[in-house]
Amino acid sequence: METWAVASICVLLGLTARWTVSLNSYSGASKAPMFGDYEAQRHWQEVTFNLPVRQWYFNTTDNDLKYWGLDYPPLTAFHSLLCAHIANLINPDWIELHKSRGYESPAHKFFMRATVIFADVLIYIPAVVVYCLYLAQGSSKTKSSALLCILLYPGLILIDNGHFQYNSVSLGLALWGVLGLGCGHDLLGSLAFTLALSYKQMELYHALPFFWYLLGKCGKLGLTGKGLILLVKISLTVLVSFALCWLPFLFDPQQTLQVIHRLFPMARGLFEDKVANVWCSLNILVKIKTLLSVDTQIYLSFGTTLLAVLPSSIKLLMKPTFWQFRLALMNSSLAFFLFSFQVHEKSILLAALPACLLLNELPLMSVWFLHTSTFSMLPLLLKDNLFQPYIITSLGFIVFSLYLFSAVDRSSVDDLRLGPCCRLTGTNFLWFSFSTVVKLQFALSVLTMAGLSFMSAALEPPAKLPDLFPVLVSACACVHFLGFLLYFNLVQLTESPRSDKKKIN
């Protein structure tokens, strides 16, 4: 069948999955007085529509920051304003100042769900289609398989269309940035990424690879000639786009500071709730959250994060190829997730995006990682009554991605790109047993995650350990993530520094 037909069918399947998941409950449904992320988004529409710009990030009589105050950069606020204008045309009750708190109705739910899908269709899905069809390597079958699998990735579907958020906007913009850089349109790519950063500050997880890649590229072109010109052009693009996005908040330094203060709430501590990163898992054994002061916590996380991204960054600077760039995105976002400050479980989506981009080359490990990332968000999904769609979408994703890529068969040392690593360290795996070990580990991992999932949903935790299952899930996921961090770093770092003729760029 023609490519356009196959791609259309994949997109339609992805959209069907999204709409059917939308039928389910959302974050904080009927849970007065605070509700959840759904109410937060509705509240931001209310605030941005009814109040002047200078009041959006400040605590005023009309704007109570304790009730879901804005804590994303300005582009989110502008997006909310746009949605609010449309809401106003349909039913002004939805965004009436103060009176619409906790507003819930089937019509409103349909509207909100529609805004998410609309953003998906406009930004994220076209980026995925362009990536799979034009930048990804492989036969047309591999490309279509990648397209289908990326669009069926459960984590993003469950969070955006279930829990309720707009991650597809920021991830989509970041992906457009990656596409720009991959096609050689550095300025457009930088512009797109700047927009992504101005939508959600968590995109900073991806910022370092963008920076090192562009810097490395300029360096390769010659820092005295073409490289310098490119560097200047990129810097100007970034500065101007930032300025345009933040324009209303740049006139008054108080405004700028307040926005930054809202974006980076340092006072909230190393982590909140149960999240599958190092600090939360460490806290089970050593109560670092209470032992160390907030400042020490900040320095500790800052230091370890920097250390964790250092090797990958240096390698990327030395060898700025597209393949290295994608690996660096993976390593950077995963390192930030594991060691950074105030990480939420949804931030794993920032690492999931680069993993999707590695599907064609490293199918087994990408699928394994993506599956684990969905699993790591299980406690959140259980709170939102999304267990049923979680099971179905996870099952669908893992079965179809393994089937379409024949991923389980591609588990040899070479398939996993660990050949250079083995040669360097001198380890000599017996060729047949490496693959078997990997397959066994994979099977065991999937079974463990399935078991924990069902136990979390079906069983009541003992009275003395009420958080038993979320802790077990987070710890299990954290162990996996540490393993993936090691693996992806090895793959990136041990790649030969010479440019091979046969390798993909």
């Binding site: 037909a5 339609l12 059917t20 039928l23 049923q388 669908g396 179809f400």
Partner: protein, 488 residues
């Protein structure tokens, strides 16, 4: 020459799993009053003795399917009690707890396995062209998708709520058995099917004529005409025994209880009126519309007296009998006559010039279409009875593919009013686009080189005119006949 067997299982399983996952995701979707109908029947068959099944009237949704379906519900009710016992209480009208919804939805999904098995059997019967390089281009694969992922079946069964997958599974299995030459099994399955849902009476004439002509008459003369000497009474007796014993098993208990008239009145409720609350897009809908238009015109031109016109409106959405204002009223007998007239050319055709199993299937489609167009109190869901069997013919013949595309697309569009809720609106659009896009592109690709075994190279002499009459064919007024003969 069967379809390639290598790796058949893996892609078939993948397709089945894919559509099943979508069915699971639709569990939370809107369900119609048919959900309550089936819950009520679960309650009736579980809580009451057999003698009361067809008399129970607590709910307005009385049992109006044949006895085998009642026994089917009885069987399901024994599993239902592990989900929520309250749903089995007859007085709990419109009871729809989450456990009830889950159970009912799961029961549809799991009984669909019958349909899956039937599709597998049909795929084996379909003849591929020259061996395709890839599985995706083979007729079996295309047929599997067109049947398993059929849009109409998905939304009627898994959103609106019915058990058509299970029933069509029995029907398609019966068809597959006829293709495979296992006629007694096919007849048995059809007899069972009639006792599960009597709407399949629409195609009973096709079965009757085909079996009589192609099964009981063992061999024809060399010029194709009848050879009565070769009439096999043994085969006729075998068929008779099978059909009679199935009907005896089904209606026997009620005959013994002297309840046959009551059961029949439940099965054939002619008081329900010419058209259903939602008009099926058939001939009588046009007839009603014309009548309405003429009456409005008549009032405007002062030819008719408003006071003398019947007050009740057919567009009121109610299920009851009406009288027409201008045009003559239509009785059930008239609809029967019209139906028989519309399908008789096809029936004569398979009698005089039998074309084997494919001719029989084509006749089934025409019977279904004729009954849909001219039948009494037809539901729009009945169009599926024509679309699904036509899928099998569509992957083998270019002309049939053309008709199938028109019929399936318009038939599916006509099902849209069934889902009128806002959250399901995007889902039905997406699924419709998915199916339509796939059916058009895959069938086009299948016949791009104009080769498909069986139906002949290129189009038959009547092929081009058949394309033009494709639309007219929809109305069953012109039936297609194949000048070439097949061996059964």
């Amino acid at each position: 020459m069967a379809a390639p067997r290598d790796g058949t299982l893996s892609w078939f399983l993948a397709l089945t799993l894919g559509v099943s996952l979508i069915k699971f995701l639709l569990i939370k979707a809107y369900h119609s009053t048919d959900f309550e109908v089936h819950r009520n029947w679960l309650a009736i068959t579980h809580s009451l003795p057999v003698s009361k099944w067809y008399f129970e009237e607590t709910s307005e949704w009385t049992l109006d399917y044949p006895p085998f379906f009642a026994w089917f519900e009885y069987g399901l009710s024994h599993i239902a009690k592990y989900f929520d016992e309250e749903m089995l209480v007859v007085q709990n009208l419109t009871y729809a707890s989450p456990a009830t919804i889950l159970f009912q939805r799961l029961s549809v999904i799991f009984t669909d396995l019958v349909f899956v098995y039937a599709v597998k059997e049909c795929c084996k019967c379909v003849q591929g062209g020259k061996r395709p390089r890839d599985i995706l281009g083979s007729p079996s694969f295309v047929l599997a998708v067109l049947l398993l992922w059929n849009f109409g079946l998905l939304i009627v069964d898994h959103i609106h709520f019915q058990y058509n997958g299970f029933l069509f599974g029995v029907f398609l299995l019966s068809v597959a058995r006829h293709f495979q030459g296992r006629h007694l099994e096919g007849a048995f399955l059809f007899a069972v099917l009639l006792n599960l849902k009597h709407i399949y009476l629409y195609i009973a004439p096709a079965y009757g004529i085909y079996l009589l002509r192609s099964f009981c008459l063992i061999q024809d003369n060399s010029d194709g005409s009848l050879k009565w000497r070769n009439f096999s009474f043994i085969r006729l007796a075998a068929l008779g025994i099978i059909v009679c014993s199935v009907f005896a098993l089904s209606f026997g208990p009620f005959l013994a209880l002297d309840q046959l008239p009551q059961v029949l009145s439940r099965l054939f409720p002619f008081k329900r009126g010419l058209c259903h609350a939602y008009w099926a897009p058939n001939f009588w809908a046009l007839y009603n519309a014309a009548d309405k238009a003429l009456s409005v015109l008549g009032i405007k031109l002062k030819l008719l007296d408003v006071a003398k016109l019947p007050k009740a409106s057919m567009t009121g959405g109610l299920v009851q009998e009406f009288q027409h204002s201008v045009l003559p009223s239509v009785s059930p007998l008239i609809t029967l006559i019209c139906t028989l007239i519309s399908v008789s050319p096809a029936l004569f055709s398979i009698w005089h010039r039998p074309c084997g199993a494919r001719g029989f299937l084509r006749c089934c489609v025409i019977c279904a279409l004729g009954s849909f167009l001219f039948g009494w109190h037809v539901h729009e869901k009945a169009i599926l009875m024509a679309i699904l069997p036509l899928s099998i013919l569509a992957v083998e013949s270019k002309d049939d593919a053309g008709v199938f595309l028109i019929l399936a697309t318009t038939g599916h569009l006509s099902l849209f009013p069934l889902l009128f809720t806002t959250p399901e609106f995007p889902i039905k659009i997406l699924l419709m686009l998915l199916f339509t896009l796939y059916s058009f592109t895959s069938l086009k690709r299948l016949f791009r080189h104009g080769v498909a075994a069986g139906r002949g190279q290129g189009s038959s002499p009547a092929g081009d005119s058949e394309q033009e009459f494709g639309v007219v064919r929809l109305h069953g007024l012109v039936h297609s006949h194949d000048p070439q003969r097949y061996e059964p």
